[in-house]
């Protein structure tokens, strides 16, 4: 079972709330800016994701989709 996180990169405002609630500490800000000029959140280790959806629930812009195979 593999879990996949999809971020709508260009809608992210880099608020870091998803990073603050991730129990596995696998989210971080990208080093490059998106089209809005924000550094968007990315997942650096998807294999460690437990699919708790905390990031999706707290994202104010609802840009995170979580699926599993």
């Amino acid at each position: 079972m593999a879990i996949h996180l999809t971020f709508q990169r260009d809608l992210c405002k880099g608020c870091q709330l998803c990073i603050s609630v991730c129990p596995k500490h696998i989210l971080e800000l990208d080093s490059a800016a998106n089209r809005k000029g924000y550094r968007p959140a990315v997942c650096r280790d998807e294999s460690a994701c437990i699919g708790c959806a905390s990031c999706g629930k707290i994202c104010p812009d609802s840009i995170i989709t979580i699926t599993k195979d």
């Binding site: 405002k13 608020c15 609630v21 959806a53 609802s62 989709t65």
Partner: protein, 244 residues
């Protein structure tokens, strides 16, 4: 492939204009998820305020009406009385509800109108640039209180949920926040209960959400949430204020 989490169908597929870390987007999402879970998206009518959330009607997938500043409860009264079987809710900030619209919300609660109000309390005027609101904490700085709000000049902040709870027409009032997942889940349960009580015809229901305004508080989003729990939640205690 199965979906564990996705954007609620109660929200339209458009980007929101809110600042990074603003709580408005989270509360919009919770309302949308409750509407989706209760299968109310096609029936619900949102009455939107003036303030940062003035475009809320463009984000909810249900029908929406934009009210004049502070007058959302008056519009909601008319909509609910003419559509008594449809869920109606107002979405209002503290500048809209507690200041210019104070009379409307008090009288709607007094009459026990059968709609729900979601009240966003971020202790400041957001859209107009961070002026002092009736809910601004003592000592909290605002552009119109650069040295911090003082009791001598502006009195003490208004606890709206407690104030309205003295009225017989209000059947449910709870204060929640959305700073982390446990609090966010509780906020969603409160919004759902308010909708359920409305649909059962019990009376006026009110959910106050303590919200962060990182931009006008001059903080980063995580620091703003921390400040909210340390200072706002102390003056505005979380929990059920009234349930009949």
């Amino acid at each position: 492939m199965t979906t564990i989490y996705r954007k609620s169908k109660g929200l339209q597929d458009v980007p929101m204009h809110y600042c990074p870390g603003c709580s408005h987007g989270i509360v919009h999402k919770l309302i949308a998820e409750v509407m989706e879970e209760m299968d109310l998206i096609q029936q619900a009518i949102a009455i939107c305020p003036v303030g940062c959330s003035v475009f809320a009607g463009s984000y909810f997938a249900c029908d929406a009406i934009e009210a004049a500043h502070g007058r959302a409860p008056a519009v909601a009264t008319a909509v609910k009385r003419t559509h008594p079987n449809q869920p109606v809710f107002t979405y209002q900030g503290d500048g809209d509800l507690a200041s210019i619209g104070a009379a409307e919300i008090v009288h709607a609660a007094m009459r026990g109108e059968h709609f729900t109000t979601i009240f966003i309390n971020n202790a400041i005027y957001g859209m107009t640039g961070g002026q002092m609101a009736p809910t601004t904490l003592l000592g909290q700085r605002a552009t119109t209180a650069p040295g911090g709000r003082t009791k001598e000049q502006a009195g003490c902040p208004m606890r709206v949920a407690e104030l309205l709870s003295t009225l017989e027409g209000l059947v449910y009032a709870e204060r929640v926040c959305v700073v982390d997942i446990p609090h966010l889940n509780q906020a969603k349960r409160a919004i759902r209960k308010a909708f359920e009580k409305q649909m059962a015809g019990e009376g006026f229901t009110f959910v106050e959400v303590l919200a962060a305004c990182p931009t006008n508080w001059g903080m980063d989003p995580i620091g703003a949430n921390r400040w909210l729990m340390e200072h706002m939640a102390e003056y505005y205690p979380l929990g059920v204020v009234k349930e009949v």
